[in-house]
Symmetry: C2
Amino acid sequence: MSKKIVLRDDEMPTSWYNVVPDIPNGLQPPLDPETNEPMGPEKLSVIFPMGLLEQEMSAERFIKIPDEVLEVYKIWRPSPLVRASNLEKALGTKAKIFFKNEGVSPVGSHKPNSAVAQAYYNKREGVKRLATETGAGQWGSALSMATNRFGLECKVYMVRVSYDQKPYRKSIMQAFGAGIVASPSSDTNTGRAILESHPDTPGSLGIAISEAIEDAATRDDTNYALGSVLNHVILHQSIIGLEAKKQMEIAGEYPDVIIGCCGGGSNFAGLMNPYLPDHLEGRKIRFVGVEPASCPTMTAGKLAYDFGDVAKTTPLIYMYTLGHDFIPPGIHAGGLRYHGMAPTVSALVGEKIIEPVRVHQMECFEAGILFAKTEGIIPAPETCHAIRGAVIEATKDLNDPKTILFNFSGHGLIDMGSYDKYFSGELHNYDYPEEQIAEVLYH
Amino acid sequence: MSKKIVLRDDEMPTSWYNVVPDIPNGLQPPLDPETNEPMGPEKLSVIFPMGLLEQEMSAERFIKIPDEVLEVYKIWRPSPLVRASNLEKALGTKAKIFFKNEGVSPVGSHKPNSAVAQAYYNKREGVKRLATETGAGQWGSALSMATNRFGLECKVYMVRVSYDQKPYRKSIMQAFGAGIVASPSSDTNTGRAILESHPDTPGSLGIAISEAIEDAATRDDTNYALGSVLNHVILHQSIIGLEAKKQMEIAGEYPDVIIGCCGGGSNFAGLMNPYLPDHLEGRKIRFVGVEPASCPTMTAGKLAYDFGDVAKTTPLIYMYTLGHDFIPPGIHAGGLRYHGMAPTVSALVGEKIIEPVRVHQMECFEAGILFAKTEGIIPAPETCHAIRGAVIEATKDLNDPKTILFNFSGHGLIDMGSYDKYFSGELHNYDYPEEQIAEVLYH
């Protein structure tokens, strides 16, 4: 049997799949916090290009991928689908475990799937510069690569704890010509205010988002780019699942359960969404979203309207949230430190279609090292959460010959500092303080 | 047109190509320094398994790849062949530039091609532990991955300058369970002697090799593994060129010139060797080996018998050499800091079939950054030398529609510290001191 299934360039899907029209009870619209009325594209067009806003609001199930985007995708896409046969053996399970390897991208994660599309649409509409936030640095490096490719400038607000922990990520962004500051920074009003009140803050995605939005809103030549959560990001990531579906068919398999780690939700949604129509038509398939116990948005948060950022500059978004001013502890899976969850993912959790699961970082590193030792590839700390989820599924009943498909969202070669800390015993688990239940929700 | 050509698992070549029988005037045998007579396998079997010694001495043109090795190769192989169309545009050349992307391996370089085979043959013959040296850390991480895969222990002597410059490489080896020390180390007689006379030495591959051989020769359970130079390593790397040949055929192209960077010679030889028979049959094809000006083995060295290591523990090898006790400056392409060159590559340089070219590190980083900005992938500092070679070829005559194929031997995501130093202006060029002509050659 093949260890992995690859597709040729010309077998890559040429349309993205938009999950929005297939969400059984639809999505709640974003609200304008000043009026509590649904927010139209006019206000958002200050920071987003129309090409992306159209996608954000689209009711079409399939949206054509521009040739210019396909051309850049082809640097690394289609990505391989791999059978983790040695992991199966090590676990002693009869389950078949497959993973979609998004770590083969030039920056080592799934993030360029959306970064390339966002850079393209901004370029097409004459934008000169993008501002963004980054947690672990994966989104920042992806957008730096993409903006450079389309000749745009890029400014990245990088969450301080990751800025300090992951110096190589900074260098990657610099190599692609981006400007980077630690967030909170002294470059924005939001950043300065937070630095004054909390000079030692590790930062958070919520703060970094506020800074990047402020940057974009106050400069004519600049738009904002978000690496997860929004519908158009989830749309772009659907390329993962569309490819995986083709590859699983070639392998002669159909997944019983699909697993991904969840920060903002985009890599998990990217893999699972193209399978949602089958589920709705009655095919038995489960979707498991794995989140960190330190930032358990889906399992401890509330499904409600909340801001996407600390400074309350975003529209109100209907999503699972721990409160927009919740600052998660500095766990090493920086990409999973977000208080909210994509509205599309949140809706499917609300409808019990997605099963959220909560895991601790130590068990995730352990699973990641088992994966490295059996499959030869070192996973990113975020990806370790998905692997832990797959291990849990594969070992519930070792005799159950189920088929598991998980998203290997990125490799860990640039995160070895986290592994160092794990090996030297410096890391420990964090639990979300249940008593601290999101008081600060908007409603 | 396709951006890249991929092959399925079942299209991967199942035999390696052995260049030795095709070298026009053959190879000079390794000599026993005690007797000056050709060295047979008996003495070498103290540190190498017979399976590899048979390959080292083989006169067969094709040698079957064991299924167990193919199975591990399939984690990342066949690797993609990519058209660097954006680099072509940026250069304004009519040349077509293709690269074979060996950076997709789990440790980011071509090195696992031989590491996996070496671990397999040692395991098959009951060896429990391997000792090795590593320069930039690419070979060490590859062997750590491979030994872990086959259940062997691994001890890595890492050249001090790289040990200090590349902490993430260490962590990768640790994640795969290997033990690592900076070389020269206090773990061997050779290391202790050098530390006493040169406490501040940056180390060199020659020293690290001596230490690893001493380790292997003084422990019954331990063999030695070398990441380049030897015939069996060159054999294993032929998988690169065998795949590339198939892929170039699918692309409907034939290379006019093949380019690679040269440290010990294995990645360049791996790509070019399968094309050698065509050349010998009269097909017009050039082979360009690119080496650093700071360690110009092929362009300033002598073709002569010399030791492979500082402590004179290896057999005498007939090769281009700068002298076995030459310690190159600490340039950032650590993998190219070796005083010798593979005997097979040396023979082809001697016969004017390979054209050696000498370049400086600053122009290489510049070429590497141009590549990253156009093709989206950050190359390892070693690989920057091959890219620089390709740029020189593509821009000699911008109107010459030649087809260039180079080996993208590894990505640079774990070498960002070197880029940091380049960007901050801390790096400069080194030239080999011509007056220091290898006095220390054996003959």
